[in-house]
């Protein structure tokens, strides 16, 4: 019997991405068992890891973590390619796109709280857009925009604040 091994060369960054993704997946799974008053109303605590990675590493690392988290969480929960997964992916992509532009804001005036609020707004905007186009093509979902925006602001602030404390605690940069 011949032993065949496939070796993939991994860099330190790969390991760091894997570790942070694992934390993000864990947070997502914890969040998924929390009861929710309305579908889609979630704290989105996994975003803390994405923001943390943007500050500690760079945007590409954060992007990897976010995308891996969306795919892995949906596979674990058995939602892969279901509407829940598509919503999560759309929200994730749009919030990454927003972060890509938001990190160009002067860091002298904008803290992680700003980035968190912006990305959580982008997340819910992407999801509502997909719901409007694909899942519920009726104008009545516009009534939900105020509620979801208020929730996005609240959890965006909380997550941003946690990220800020975390970065300060680790004394990064």
């Amino acid at each position: 019997m011949t032993r065949s091994t496939i070796k993939i060369k991994t860099t330190l960054l790969d390991h760091q991405i894997a570790q942070l993704s694992a934390i993000a997946i864990g947070l997502s799974l914890m969040e998924s068992i929390l009861p929710s008053p309305m579908p889609g109303v979630k704290p989105g605590i996994a975003n803390i890891i994405t923001l943390y990675a943007i500050y500690r590493f760079n945007f590409n690392t954060a992007m990897w973590i976010s995308v891996l988290r969306v795919f892995a969480t949906s596979l674990i929960l058995g939602q892969f390619l279901s509407p829940a997964f598509m919503l999560s992916l759309t929200g994730g992509i749009l919030s990454l796109l927003t972060l890509y532009f938001a990190i160009k804001l002067p860091s002298k005036f904008f803290s992680p709280v700003s980035l968190s609020v912006l990305s959580s707004f982008a997340h819910i905007a992407g999801q509502l857009l997909l719901v409007r186009i694909w899942l519920i093509p009726h104008a009545s979902i516009y009534y939900l925009i105020p509620i979801y925006s208020a929730v996005a602001l609240l959890f965006g602030l909380i997550n941003g604040w946690i990220t800020y404390r975390l970065l300060k605690h680790h004394n990064s940069i």
Binding site: S107, F110, P112, V113, S140, L153
Partner: protein, 133 residues
């Protein structure tokens, strides 16, 4: 490859962030605006009756009228009175449409799925069939 990537250094400052305040303020204004735009209800003037996937007709709410529709399950009776509309009776088992009572605000809707009948209140903001107006 690394030369192509523009490096963005993010720094954490420990002072009051004027940008955060700005973003929070804009968000709050946005939320208040969306509340005002989307949660603004007005008294409707027309009721649209949908029957078996088509618009059966638009009727003014300022009249006393009873509309009888015979669908797959039986007869649904829609009543219009004093600027309001309701399902007076329905042949379905659950009677959800009847129990929801009167509706009069724009955008409100009553749906009877078994009998394929739905009614919706329309206002000035929504376009309606000019033939029935």
């Amino acid at each position: 490859m690394s030369t192509l990537r523009k490096k963005i250094v993010l720094k954490l400052h420990t002072k009051f962030f004027i940008g955060d305040g700005l973003i929070i303020l804009i968000s709050l204004i946005f939320i208040v605006c969306t509340f005002k735009t989307f949660w603004h209800f007005e008294t409707g003037s027309v009721v649209q009756v949908n029957f078996q996937g088509n618009t059966y007709g638009n009727f003014s709410l300022f009249q006393d009228k009873k509309i009888n529709l015979i669908g797959k399950e039986g007869e649904s009776i829609i009543e219009i009175k004093e600027g309001r509309a309701r399902f007076k009776s329905a042949p379905c088992k659950n009677q959800y449409c009847v129990q929801q009572g009167w509706i009069h605000l724009t955008g409100q809707m009553l749906i009877c799925i078994p009998n394929e009948v739905s009614i919706e209140i329309l206002g000035k903001s929504k376009t309606y069939d000019s033939l029935n107006y």
